[in-house]
Symmetry: C2
Subunit: 640 residues, 2 copies
């Protein structure tokens, strides 16, 4: 028999069967609880307090005895029993408390380069037509008349031989033509070999049509609202991907989608509803109705793209790591439940491989790499480090698992790059005292990914850690101490932190970071070795993604994350997946080119052969076993 | 406040607002009441008896006082008032009591020529593929792998450059490939320039795939269930078009669709549910599930095609008579609510003009007219007479309104060609006695369309009517008498009829028939005159439709309905719309050719100019004003 669970302080109630985890019951009640382990009971983020009734506890995980006695449980490990419950969800367990801006966390303003105007015709355009009214002598059907006028208007610019029409436009056609006295506005979607009349409106007016460029990130969703006639970005907004409640990382989500009943549908719904909420905010700000958004282009990694379309990502995770789609068929927005014009087409960027997805292809489009003579290295560093090397003639790519540390995961005081995150650390080599700078100069809460690289470099520079990341005992500073898990260095004392106690970085954190940076560098080296090239051929290193925005090149080279090249060769391009999606939205030719690019990239599976493993082991040093690869660092080391 | 109406004897109850006609309430209750006037109160078919409660009577129409006193009302004119009602629907008012077979009313057996095997590839085919399993070295996505195997399997026979995939097939893809151990069965729909993977099944088995060829007639719906692999018709079934409850003829239905709230949706639902019931019966007989029907091809007149797709036919009726579509976009069965595979494509035959529809184009395809050197006259005679004249180089066509008399409408004892319908009449010129033959040799109930032509010819031959159709008074037979509406001739005395009293044909009936046959003949003449040709160029007259099946050429010429040609030039081809639809289903090339044919036919609007009216007036004689056009009849006349 179903039991009633009331979530406090809202008082939202749901009825669920005995055996349902509280975490799932909360999802059903529409409340988002933090979780980063996918419900395994290991992350400890999903703490709730049972105030009335008794839950069945599968596991207490790392929960302290005190917390247990106060009534706290891990909501993923506490099951509804045979009585009703009243459950308090503390604010620290709630996902929505942690909202960040979507592109550049410190700054929500539209960027200057957000206005893109590529060559070519947008995926969807609008035509104002004035048709000759029919007569007894000129009695072709409405659709034939419209097609003729459309072909005439389009001239020979688009040689589509076939013009389809959506069902709803077809039903609306006769009425619209007559209501507008044979003047109509036609919304036309362009495909490679044909076009479709998506919608039709009576008469001519000043209304424009809009499209969405969407970057579907594992962590965040970022959207541009784009005027398809002026080719200008008229709004941008983003939010956390609501899938986070099913696990922080891709693997947790694949497991959830593959193994839970309705898991795939839940994950699809989570990302669609995230998008819908962002779009609603964009629409309200711009004061436009749903049906004026007539085209969508999405870029995401392979798993995100599969979940967005409701396709199982199950086999992405299982050897030999096969996705269902690489080139992705366009689908109607209505079938996905997107709150835009239901006949709008949704195009998704193509994937290269299971771990080299549409977000990277979109980024490559934005860099214009496919037209460059010079050899460029493209890096997108997050949980995975995705790497492309090439020029207009060839491209190779790979993905290396960096773990969640660059996004703040798995590190004692790791956090995302939001207010209060330490992004810069300076350690005096003599006093061994630390000074930190935080995002928004707020009181320190933790350390973000780029801050961790910076910190690693500072620790090494001050001689607190050695080349393999071991702490040097017996240094004359109270900041270096033995904690519960071994050696640690206090970056911020409790009195200066935002109530989180001493902010420390542990030896275990350092080793984790070395493994992460080593994986990325080994990926770069493996691509170069595959082609028998060395770093010197690289004329430019393009770094995409939020992580790159705060990275200090100097420190990243010094720890051996990035190759040792002149600083001017490095370029940060922000959310290139989003910007590339915008290019694809605004140019049919650009999107077609992206499909070509995806096919052109040779994917290197790093688990095949021994090259990557050799390179990885060699890279588990600061900066590297082979110091000749880091001449600028070597010279500094020698100086010290 | 809504009132409860209970229909007897079923006891089905519905709740409706006061003011709702009982006819509509019955529709809501799923009960089909006969009506042929579209709810105007003039046909008197929709009689019901109010047994409890009181209805508000708008009009009693032609209802006799006795009937009124017994509680009978016209259900279209009786509105629900402010109390509940119990209403008995007598069996004679029910539509389903009048079911007839769909193609040849006397014979439900499959015809010999129902098995068609045209050249070319069916619109949807099935491929059994064995894919190479993926590996680390061969890690393309499932869809790319499938496309590659499909292209290889198809060879160079179909040069589609693009292979799309339906959303549900895409979602099913990864599972099907692995469940079938990389053996799959792919259902592929073929379009002119691309193909679509409609569905995918794990493994290989003996299952086949089916398609439906549908003739959507104004009166009846006829369907072939076709095995798309063997190209054989494996079942055929038909039923009355349930739209009949909204009016017998096209114009009533257009008005209902255009002017009633939800009228269009009701009419669409009516035809879709008719089709669904027929398909269910076919499926049950063949023991196949819904999802094995993967393709649909429909042929219907322009209005039927619009209603089938849910497109308003409003403007078909209003000058200058413009339809929304001529070439009809394919739609998914799921969007129409057809109970077949929801991803199945539904193709509809193209229209030539508002009154020259896909049923005629389909018929022309079946005749192979577009490949003939000789000039052929194609006739489809029903409420409208649709006429095509031409050969492989040119075709002209027109539609003339014959009225409902050839289908038994508007004639005192007119009825459809079902059991008990008089199909043959012999009148002795001396005794003036009549002998009749009925369908199935049942006791006479009325006269069917072809029987009426025969009767007209017999009356003329016996000298009972003259060349303008006036009865000759003072003939020595009790069969000729003055009835309420003027002169009439008794074909069958009450004692010999099936309880319907004396079966008569009146002078008014005769005049109606002369107008009907005059319109058809004038249409033929107008086409010939437009091209400055005469009857002698016609090498063959092909007569389509149920009406033709019983027609006696001799009589049809004698009354001036058909041109006076040698009998061997006439050919009856039955339901050519259905057979042509089957050809289109089984051959992509044939369907493409039909689209070409529809564009090629020059449509002549008879209301323009005076030629048709001149010809019509000249044809209001038996057989014609100009007897030189009917030399064989003239010689007989002279002999008498």
């Amino acid at each position: 028999m179903k039991q009633r669970v009331v979530f406090l302080p809202e008082g939202v109630a749901v009825e669920v069967l005995p055996g349902t985890p509280l975490f799932r019951a909360a999802v059903l009640a529409g409340i988002e609880i933090k979780s980063s382990c996918g419900g395994k009971g290991s992350c400890g983020n999903c703490l709730v307090k049972v105030e009335e009734g008794k839950a069945e506890i599968k596991s207490t995980g790392k929960l302290s005895r005190e917390k247990q006695e106060e009534g706290y449980v891990l909501s993923c490990q506490a099951l509804v029993g045979d009585e009703g419950l009243r459950v308090m969800i503390p604010s620290e367990s709630r996902l929505e408390e942690h909202r960040i801006l979507y592109d550049r966390p410190e700054n929500g303003e539209a960027e200057d380069d957000a206005c893109l105007a590529p060559e070519g015709i947008p995926l969807c355009t609008q035509f104002k037509l004035a048709l000759d009214p029919p007569s007894i002598d000129d009695n072709t059907s409405d659709l034939s008349r419209l097609r003729l006028a459309l072909r005439r208007e389009m001239g020979l610019n688009r040689p589509e031989t076939e013009i389809n029409i959506s069902t709803s436009a077809l039903k609306n056609l006769a009425g619209a033509l007559r209501e507008g006295d044979w003047k109509v506005t036609v919304i036309l979607a362009h495909f490679q070999r044909y076009a479709e009349i998506v919608a039709i409106r009576a008469g001519h007016d000043d209304r424009t049509v809009y499209g969405l460029a969407i970057d579907i990130g594992t962590t965040t969703v970022a959207i541009y609202l784009v005027d398809l006639l002026t080719k200008k970005v008229v709004g941008q907004h983003g939010d956390f991907n609501r899938q986070a409640r099913y696990g922080d990382d891709i693997i947790s989500r694949i497991i959830y989608a593959a193994e839970e009943e309705q898991g795939l549908q839940e994950l699809q719904f989570a990302v669609i509803s995230t998008i819908n909420d962002v779009v609603e905010e964009l629409r309200e700000k711009a004061a436009i109705p749903e049906e004026d958004i007539v085209q969508v282009v999405a870029a995401g990694n392979t798993t995100m793209t599969h979940l967005f379309l409701g396709i199982t990502p199950r086999f992405i995770r299982l050897e030999p790591y096969i996705s269902t789609v690489s080139t992705v068929p366009a689908v109607k927005a209505g079938t996905l439940g997107l709150k835009v014009h239901p006949e709008a087409w949704v195009n998704s960027f193509p994937q290269v491989a299971s771990y080299l997805g549409g977000d990277i292809v979109s980024g490559i489009l934005y860099t214009n790499l496919a037209h460059k003579d010079d050899i460029i290295l493209f890096l997108d560093i997050g949980t995975n480090g995705e790497i492309i090397l090439g020029n207009k003639d060839w491209m190779v790519g790979c993905a290396c698992s960096a773990g969640p540390s660059f996004e703040g995961g798995g590190i004692t005081f790791g956090m995302r790059a939001m207010s209060g995150a330490i992004e810069r650390t300076v350690i005096d080599p003599v006093s061994l005292e630390a000074q930190v700078k935080t995002v928004n100069n707020a009181r320190p809460l933790g350390i973000c990914g780029s801050g961790l690289i910076d910190c690693l470099s500072s620790l090494k520079g001050a001689g607190i850690i050695d080349r393999v990341g071991s702490f040097q005992a017996d240094l004359p500073t109270p900041r270096l101490r033995r904690g519960e898990g071994g050696w640690e260095y206090v970056l911020v004392w409790a009195k200066d932190s935002a109530g989180v106690g001493d902010i420390v970085i542990t030896e275990s954190d350092v080793k984790t970071l070395i493994r992460a940076k080593g994986a990325v560098y080994a990926g770069i080296r493996t691509l170069l070795r595959m082609l028998e090239l060395d770093e010197s051929v690289i004329t430019k290193v393009i770094i995409a993604g939020g992580f790159g925005n705060y990275l200090h090149i100097h420190d990243a080279i010094r720890v051996g994350l990035l190759p040792d090249l002149e600083y001017h060769k490095f370029e940060f391009i922000g959310n290139s997946s989003l910007k590339g999606a915008c290019l694809g939205l605004l140019s049919r030719e650009a999107l077609d080119e992206a499909e070509e690019t995806a096919r052109m990239i040779t994917y290197l599976e790093l688990s095949v052969g021994t090259t990557f493993m050799d390179e990885y082991v060699a890279a588990l040093f600061l900066p590297h076993t082979d110091l000749t690869l880091f001449p600028s660092v070597e010279s500094v080391e020698n100086r010290i």
